[in-house]
Symmetry: C3
Subunit: 330 residues, 3 copies
């Protein structure tokens, strides 16, 4: 377990140290759960009473707050407590799971695959024909990478994830556990006798930029033809569905359980709230925000905030909700 003196932590965070403690700090903890070896946070005045009752020896505090200080307790005053916390988490980030072998002997790697310098490949992984892994790619145990897929440097793939054939993935991406990349899009046509459905082949692929993170059990389908595209820096949460031929710009955010139907286009910096759904063939322009639980049925202009089902400009939707509440009381 890592531990630091309060002076060391203060140096890292570049704050102002008030008071002092002789205890070594082993990690961050919430005020009400902290033990003496923890450092905690006082983000606003309402947390000051928790600090007074907390066992924590130290806390990070916004510099505008006034907080009492007993003996052997210390405060680190900072301008931006959120940023300081992010730095603190980097300091205490524990070691990730170890690899006893760089490439585990039970991993099955096709002869034609090219494995970059410093790659780590866990037990039970499968690497198909003509796969290319750049430098420093990490595949945890039981990952499946299928034929002709290419993965950029330092990308991490967690266990249970399956990446189908011909996917193109950038550098510094993270795929969490049990993700499905490149499954067939959902496309059928009526059979000629009119009594059933015939599968339309899905011959496209998935292209994922650099610095993309995709959450556990999420799915990105391949294009019917051409590609489904996830732009650089997009962050996708758990259990998200991205259907065939969607195109996401840079740094979009999609929260848990949200979904895009086929051929949806997102501009740059679009934010999709949890459990929100977007109709097929619509475009959400750059900087738009879709509220949690919304159902979007048409294009959304740049920078707009949409809410509800069917989704409407958010202030308009709030008015509708108020109007309905009043109506029910008459």
């Amino acid at each position: 377990m890592k531990s630091f003196t309060i002076e060391e932590i203060n140096t890292i965070l570049g704050g102002e140290l008030v008071g002092s403690t002789t205890l070594k700090i082993t990690g961050p903890e919430q005020l009400d759960k902290a033990e003496p070896h923890h450092i905690s946070f006082i983000g606003s005045t309402k947390y000051i009473k928790y600090w007074n009752n907390s066992k924590a020896s130290a806390a990070i505090v916004n510099e505008n707050l006034t907080v009492d200080l007993e003996e052997n307790r210390a405060l680190i005053k900072v301008k931006n407590a959120d940023l300081a916390m992010a730095k603190l988490l980097e300091v205490f980030n524990p070691q990730p799971p170890v690899f006893d072998h760089e490439i585990h002997p039970t991993a099955i790697i096709h002869d034609s695959a090219i494995i970059g310098k410093g790659c780590k490949i866990g037990a039970g992984c499968y690497i198909g024909k003509d796969v290319v892994l750049a430098e420093g790619v990490i595949l945890y145990p039981n990952v499946t990478i299928m034929d002709e897929t290419t993965i950029g440097s330092h990308t991490i793939v967690w266990s249970g994830t399956v990446i189908r054939e011909r996917t193109e993935i950038g550098a510094y991406c993270i795929f969490h556990t049990n993700v499905s990349i490149g499954a067939d899009g959902f496309g059928y046509r009526p059979s000629e006798d009119g009594r059933g459905l015939v599968k339309i082949p899905q011959i496209g692929n998935v292209i994922i930029g650099n610095g993309v993170e995709i959450g556990a059990n999420s799915c990105v389908d391949r294009g019917k033809f051409s590609s489904t595209i996830i732009g650089d820096g997009c962050k996708i949460d758990n259990l998200v569905q991205i259907a065939h031929n969607c195109e996401l710009g840079r740094s979009c955010i999609m929260a848990g359980h949200s979904g895009l139907a086929g051929s949806v286009t997102l501009g740059d910096g679009v934010i999709i709230g949890g459990s929100a759904s977007i109709k097929d063939h619509t475009t959400i322009h750059s900087g738009a925000t879709i509220g949690a639980g919304s159902g979007v049925m048409g294009d959304v202009e740049a920078g707009k905030t949409m809410l509800g089902y069917p989704a409407t400009e958010s202030r308009e939707m709030l008015k509708q909700w108020v109007a309905l509440r009043k109506l029910a009381k008459q």
Copy 2:
């Protein structure tokens, strides 16, 4: 296949046997699908006509119902047909999948891992550094348990499930197939150039109590710091999302496709309906019920039933729905 005489079944259920049948009973079946070797259920008067047309030789019936009985057919009258059915399912519960080896030779188990007495570990499983499995833990094939995770006695983990490092799991839990425990929480901060997002390290873990069941393809994320906590006896259905730093009390129920955003607190005995979503940092107090499909945007008092989007006390929401229906007809 197991089979019992009707007298044996009656003894197990502690009911009152009326009529008799010489056929051996091989299992329960619905009235309309039953063959003569099945036992069925007559839960209310509306099922009596199905009994008259059913091939079943026997049925469990609530003792207050009056049902005709032909030759070589039998009824078991009970006080509580639901409870009797649960007992009957235990009686006919078939053998689970077999293990030809207690620990399969293809399982990869780190030297430092501690494996309790009577554990069964299937083919293709991976057990990381310093993992501890208590007595009688069962891991079906192709399970991944990462470093420093501890699992309590008699917990069962089905195939495809991945449990990330430093998770703490109690006794008698069940993890269904393709579950993801301990993936990183979804947390980013704006990059300093304002043009992208920087990942905030997620250094916490997941703590799961005793007797917890988690459905197929569900996800529980690790805490940003500190822990995501699932209390004793919670029952989580399939495709459920539980984000970082949520805390569930005892015996909560979450139905399929429901989700909790970050830092949601559930009291004891909270029920979350299918596809319902709960906003981050809210508290749903003990005994509250959230209707299916609801979107909860604020704290919910103990014992309240909430419905709709945005979720409102259920009678109020029903009034809103009625009012809107009337308005549309004007």
Copy 3:
């Protein structure tokens, strides 16, 4: 990479060739992304301007459209561009991932399992006791098939999918990645001390017809007793939940994130939109359509289109939405 002359493609599609190109065609592409070796589509007049600016050497066009044609460019005029495109995708469908061994030596196959002629079984697969695979079944790497399951001829199972014990699967099905078939249904009863929940054994199974396709990370639970049934030709998208004892007729469609609670019955040809949810024990009769995002709380008549939450006949729901919008403006 496959390539064809424009004359060869015209013969396959049975169209009328206008103009000609000497370039070999390597695949379909959208007009705005096409290179000279691509064939594209002109589905309606609004795409004609894109054709004029496109690098594509060829396009499929509905025969009623009038399109300009430069030198070394060709058009294939067809009656039904959608059908022609489906045929074209079949023509260019690339080779699926290769198997270097028909049955990979690392696959663990129980001695009692019966493996049909021409089956392919990838690395890391697990096949349990008494499993039966008919002719030509394909299991990609890291698939788990548990005891007594039977799979019909030419069914394909992609990596990460787990099929629990005693499942019965037809011919020509496709299971995408990380699918969960046959996990326990979600059923509990109050414990006798009233302080918790006791699991009700889930002793039924799952029966899946012929020609069924199930999307990535979707779940079909086993019956409590008796079976959960998916009829011939059903097409299920990604992240779909089908709970215990549901029964789907022929050729139903369920889009991404949709879900059926326990014991829901769908007739034939029912369409469930994305993220829609259906209450337990309801029946959606043949030919009904449930709009995306809807929450259905009662039976639906044959052929009806339902929309909204709570779901109502769609024209009625559209009226409610209009009425509410007007009310908010007063």
